[in-house]
Symmetry: C4
Subunit: 265 residues, 4 copies
């Protein structure tokens, strides 16, 4: 295969040149945009809980359930990445063309903006807050502090980066292994459930630390609409680094387990 052909294969130009490919690609972009819009609308909407006090379980389970629902209806259309970190992981394992991958990420961001805008319109203005923007836990002022940096208990940006990296690592590892074609004969893998429970788990842990982005598109939407950009780089760098690390682990350590090498009793 010549290098030109290789390039075309990497870019995945056949996703656009045939009419079937083009229609499929457009539909998958619509699915990605609508999926992320619903996740942002429902998940961030749950963080604006104005009836009871902050309830991490409510927020974590809402993100988990709506991710489950969107993967359930979107999986057969676009693979239901619904997350730039997952799209990056898939790209690095070579299962998707790069052109289509970048369009996915664009669609996801566009969908997140739409979901966040809709939430701003439909939620009572008085309870908007920051529309579910992710932010690092601010800590408080040390009462015994006399000078210097008197803030204690805050999550520092590099700590937030590490936490976002770790929780995204979990999500992308689960996605890559659950959808690995080498394991696809295993009928018991329920991909929507796998993603839903993984998303619920990482939100239940990381919400107090960073608000649990674990998804750059989900963090971008409210940031644009509410114009809150503090430490926004953390919510892109962390998940994308986690996605890259997961893809490397999957490709070089784990994925080479062929079916006949699976652990068997």
């Amino acid at each position: 295969m010549g290098s030109f052909k290789l390039l075309r294969k990497m870019l995945g130009t056949e996703d656009f040149t045939s009419s079937t490919g083009l229609v499929t690609t457009i539909r998958s972009l619509v699915a990605e945009a609508l999926g992320v819009a619903l996740i942002v609308f429902v998940g961030c909407g749950a963080t604006l809980n104005f009836v009871t006090s902050t309830d991490i379980v409510q927020i974590g389970l809402t993100f988990g359930c709506i991710t489950f629902a969107c993967v359930q209806w979107g999986f057969s259309m676009s693979g239901a990445h619904l997350n730039p970190a997952i799209t990056l992981g898939i790209l690095l394992t070579g299962r998707l063309g790069w052109l289509r991958g970048f369009l996915y990420i664009g669609s996801q961001c566009f969908g997140a903006l739409g979901g966040s805008f809709l939430l701003q319109v439909l939620a009572p203005r008085y309870h908007h807050g920051h529309l579910g923007t992710t932010y690092l836990f601010p800590g408080g002022v040390d009462p015994t502090c006399q000078s210097g940096d008197c803030i204690i208990g805050n999550v520092k940006p590099w700590q937030g980066f590490g936490i976002e990296l770790m929780v995204s690592l979990v999500l992308v590892l689960v996605y890559l292994s659950a959808t690995d074609p080498l394991q696809s004969e295993d009928e018991t893998t329920n991909v929507p459930l796998a993603m839903g429970l993984a998303v619920a788990g990482v939100h239940l842990m990381a919400f107090p630390y960073t608000g649990c982005g674990a998804n750059p598109a989900r963090s971008l939407g409210p940031a644009v609409i509410a114009q809150q950009w503090d430490n926004h780089w953390v919510y892109w760098a962390g998940p994308l680094a986690g996605g890259m690390l997961a893809a490397c682990l999957h490709r070089f350590v784990f994925s080479s387990f062929r079916r006949h090498q699976r652990h068997q009793y």
Copy 2:
């Protein structure tokens, strides 16, 4: 096919003319009524929590689990719509005759009345409240307000309509894709789980906003028994509009993905 034949096919008269069809139809109506009755009895019963303070997670998971249970036993009998919005979505995708569809909706409403009445009888009178009627979050009086409309933080009827539309869109999209015959070879789809988690997710988000009807029959039952009709139109118009939108998206954008066009890695 003549237009008369087409009409008969659309109405689904064969559901009534053969004795097998008639028996099957009657049984499916019993299943729809009993299913909605159990959802209303158990779900609304959970909102009358007189032991701890309002707990959105308790309410959301109760609705999710009882929906799961009713879809589990009812799916092979009637398809377990248990929701006029889902029945409308199914009708618009042409999978059910219109006569039977409208009887389903009637059965669902009848079942909701029964479940709500039973709850009124079995719950301690002192804790009845409104038997779990759905209502728009009323907000509060702005203390700095001097004249005019001093209510702040309330959910306006058109906002409630939008939220009910969005959450019903999620439910109907999940139902339509999980039960799509074109995807039925996919053995891993667990329809009861899909509906249960989707219902749990939307309740966890929308309960503070609108009480989360997302099901006109579920909203009708307590409204009749407790005679609370404020903004009741929202709980019909929103879910039915959401069901229509989901059916259009499914039919014209997503459903035309044939199996050989499924997203594959």
Copy 3:
């Protein structure tokens, strides 16, 4: 078939006459006893929460998860009824011999006593309470009441009976349909998950009303160990009536749906 043969078939004497049958029967009794013991130990242990205030979600999910776990390991051994109401339902649908059925119920009660005794031993004495005994919500004294019955908001015994009946109806309907051999080709039914979620759902609803027995054996264990017998009949009559009603519905209305009559789109 003569009436004697019919009687032997109903009683299921072949469960005891062959050596294979006898071994299988004894093992299934061990499984039922251990399963109920674990449910009572873990579930009732969760009600003795001495760290945070009463949390219905914690209690409901604990009962759901431990039921899931016990059905997961016990289903292939005894069918994992783990509940006299379910055993009664199975008996009335004719899937089990009556002799074995009554031994199941005995094993379940014995296991519940064991689990409850173990909890009394292993829990700190100061926090025993009533070891998770089920009781009817007592309500409170009406401050404006001057004479007569001044208790308001309590759940009356006949109301408790009705609630126990309804929640057991849900459990037994789900069990009967999920394990119906006529539906057994449907590979997606996850019986442990079905029972776990159904149990979680009914506890989340009924815990404030009656403590949610929904299982006479589970109610018997703590009642014996803690010697709390108030309204104990409710926790036998309700679930058994619910099991009977579910068996009748399943047998005469729903179960006659043969596979070729399943609802199909």
Copy 4:
């Protein structure tokens, strides 16, 4: 087969002598270490909840979801024991070589140290607490006590041992039956879900009593990093005894159910 051959088979030397075996073994050790590291990082990270008050549901569901996620991606690599008690149970049922088994336990402990260290680095120092160390509920001082041991309501070490034994029994029984090759034709068993829900259930119950180790590696990690060794033996002896008991029950009572002896209706 000579006794030397039998010994080699028991030790599982073929896991190391062939190059395929060696590569597979090393990969499985990496998977065990990474899996336990993620469980400890995410699960113990959830116990350091500095935003709301202690929430047992949040902690229990986090451990359940992250265990689900790690079993989901790790099952095909190492069997995803992720717990020395489960490895011991598997060893006693003869499904794994002893050499590999002990290396698994070493990997799990190493992973737990890594996860705990990472949590210490990434969590705000002010909220470290004991990094999620498991400890026995300390009770309080009896105000009416005048002399002697005035602590009441505490969990005594032997009680903690019993509780850890029981909850580990549940986990290992579920693991052994869900992965039993004799039941492996049963397509509906979702092993990650089984382990996730079982872990969630036991944490929801046992967290107030012992912090719910149920996994010696998970208890070791924070103990080393935070240097908290009170009653640490409980968290090794209890789970390992539970694993042994589960293996005996599975092997001598339950596992001899061959497929043709499965409970059938």
